[in-house]
């Protein structure tokens, strides 16, 4: 998974201080990003966070008010969409209803003036990649949602763009198909070697597919990193909340010294690395919390007493809500083996424990 980190690819897209407003709304606010060659990159954020506006500017639909967009070293900020070596798969697929599957895929090649026999070969190849050759003669209306998605994908890759933009590529599919397609997209991206930029509001989707993710909120990029970076070392509270579940605690700060601090949660003191952060919350993932068995102990752990308020069985894990002196903690217990797991009942008085190393420091 981390094989790529050793040899870093050269940048393909460089976005420099791009801003874009629609009326009084600042959709994209001073965003700078780099997408590398051959990378699977995701723009992740809630709807209205500016991710789609940013993607559209990369495609050439709408120019930034400020900033520059470089593609393979060339400034394309003011280049119209039909002259960019970038193709886009639209959210609703935007297949041409009056053309059959073959002609839909061939459209871009015909515009380019590619020779007839080459068009035939390349369209056939693209349809083969998405397993849609048997449907070449069909009109889009006669296809299912998943089939339309494949045709849209074939149409977008047939011109061999340097970058493929995918706007919520899986949003219109049902859940099972979505999971299958995630894996296929990932596989296709690696085998084609084209950089993919996916816009999504679904954090699982981004985590599953992307090499790197930029988390956006209110027009700004909060953090860019690998899925593991975002999960284990979120830059701030918003990212920690958006990616996965987190217990966010406002600690009592008792002492600071050289980027370390003595803090207390529920009256239990422990020492953590804070770096330069002044104002911060603490985040602890539910699965990093352990439930101590009666009379059990873990050396070096912070131990807090509480009462089980709620118990939610979720198959792979059992989730507990544990009320302590000042907080309600979410604890995820892995249901690894039916025999050995100790799961306390609702109302039970228990001790939960975590290692100070697993505590995330979250600036505002």
């Amino acid at each position: 998974m981390h094989a790529k980190e050793g040899r870093e690819q050269p940048p393909l897209v460089t976005i420099e201080h791009v801003s874009k407003s629609f009326g009084a709304v600042r959709a994209v606010d001073d965003v700078s990003l780099t997408i590398r060659e051959g990378e699977f990159f995701a723009l992740l954020g809630p709807s209205g966070c500016g991710k789609t506006s940013l993607m559209r500017m990369i495609a050439g639909f709408g120019e930034p008010d400020r900033g520059r967009i470089l593609l393979a070293g060339h400034d394309v900020t003011h280049v119209p969409p039909h002259k960019r070596p970038v193709n886009m798969m639209f959210q609703n697929y935007a297949l041409f209803p009056h053309l059959n599957v073959f002609e839909n895929v061939a459209f871009g090649l015909r515009e380019e003036g590619v020779a007839k026999h080459e068009i035939f070969a390349r369209v056939a190849e693209a349809l083969r990649l998405v397993q849609m050759q048997p449907f070449a003669e069909r009109k889009p209306q006669a296809l299912s949602g998943g089939q339309k998605q494949r045709v849209a994908l074939a149409r977008a890759i047939v011109k061999r763009p340097k970058l493929l933009l995918l706007d919520e590529p899986l949003a219109a599919l049902d859940r099972r198909l979505r999971e299958e397609t995630q894996e296929e997209l990932k596989h296709l991206q690696k085998s084609l070697g084209i950089a993919f930029l996916v816009v999504t509001h679904d954090q699982d989707e981004a985590m599953m597919m992307a090499d790197r993710i930029a988390v956006m909120q209110a027009g700004k990029v909060l953090q860019t990193g690998t899925p593991a970076d975002l999960y284990e070392r979120p830059a701030n509270r918003a990212v920690a909340r958006f990616i996965g579940d987190t217990n966010v605690i406002d600690p009592e700060i008792r002492a600071r010294l050289d980027g370390r601090a003595l803090v207390a949660a529920d009256g239990v003191a422990f020492e953590i690395h804070t770096g330069p952060a002044r104002d911060f919350s603490l985040g602890i993932r539910p699965e990093k919390l352990r439930v101590l068995e009666p009379q059990g102990s873990i050396p070096g752990a912070v131990v807090i007493e509480g009462v089980v308020e709620q118990r939610l069985y979720r198959g792979d894990v059992t989730e507990l809500r544990v009320r302590t002196a000042q907080h309600v903690w979410r604890v995820a217990m892995l249901n690894a083996s039916r025999q050995s797991t100790f799961v306390p009942d609702v109302g039970a008085r228990i001790e939960i424990a975590f290692s100070p190393h697993d505590v995330m420091v979250l600036p505002e």
Partner: protein
């Protein structure tokens, strides 16, 4: 669901009110008698008489040429106007433009006719074929724009964007994607403009001149000398023609809605 007696009665009356007069015209066009109100047996003699009525044939010919030319012009201008209105969400005077585009739909014909007459007089243009054509183009453009605008309203704009993204210039994207998608509405608009021009009497009366008498004008003129079965025959031909065009136009718009 069963219809109540009241509903059946109102349906029959409604239909009768609309179509009985037309039915009478059609029936009496096959009347052998010269008297309009007395049935004298079946005959097609009035249709034969129609064919040898040179002024009427001339008028029909003028009407067809006016309708064709004005519908063609109205289709081009109306489609462009609808595109401008839909494509550019914001431009100076957009509201005024929309209002002015659609106002002729509800403007009394007599006003349209009179104002055009005054314009032509002021410009010192000789009234004739071209002035009727221009006048018809002016009032049918609104109808074309309305039909095309309705189609554009539920057209997915991302299709045209997809075409641009795949390397098509703005014009090429319009020609290869948008135009085929709206073509049924454009065709329906054309047919609508054609029929409106074909049976317009009021505006034509104001804007036509010597040598450019349209069919409705000629029929109206003849009627002042008394209604003859020949007029019934001419009306029947007109009714059948217009009905066919309207059916084709509504088919065109409906088929696309289903797709």
């Amino acid at each position: 669901m069963r219809m109540s007696r009241f509903n059946i009665v109102s349906l029959v009356f409604g239909i009768a009110f609309l179509y009985l007069p037309i039915l009478i015209v059609v029936t009496y066009s096959f009347n052998a008698s010269k008297l309009v109100t007395v049935w004298g047996g079946f005959s097609t003699q009035w249709y034969r008489a129609l064919l040898s009525n040179a002024p009427l044939i001339d008028a029909a010919w003028v009407s067809l040429r006016v309708a064709l030319a004005s519908a063609l012009g109205a289709t081009i201008i109306g489609t462009m106007a609808a595109l401008a209105l839909r494509r550019h969400r914001r431009f100076m005077g957009r509201g005024l433009f929309a209002f002015m585009l659609f106002a002729p739909l509800v403007l009394p014909e007599i006003m349209t006719g009179l104002s055009l007459l005054l314009l032509f007089v002021a410009l010192d243009w000789d009234r004739g074929y071209w002035t009727v054509t221009l006048a018809h183009m002016a009032f049918t453009t609104s109808f074309v724009a309305l039909v095309v605008d309705a189609r554009l309203a539920d057209l997915d704009p991302s299709c045209e964007e997809a075409a641009r993204d795949l390397g098509a210039t703005a014009f090429s994207a319009f020609r290869r994607v948008t135009l085929p998608m709206i073509s049924p509405a454009v065709a329906a608009g054309f047919l609508l403009a054609f029929t409106l021009s074909l049976d317009d009497l009021v505006i034509a009366s104001f804007t036509s001149g010597p040598g450019a008498t349209t069919l409705p004008m000629r029929l109206y003129g003849q009627m002042r000398l008394g209604v003859t079965p020949e007029i019934n025959a001419a009306s029947t031909v007109l009714i059948v023609g217009v009905t066919l065009l309207v059916i084709v136009a509504s088919r065109l718009t409906r088929r696309h809605r289903q797709a």
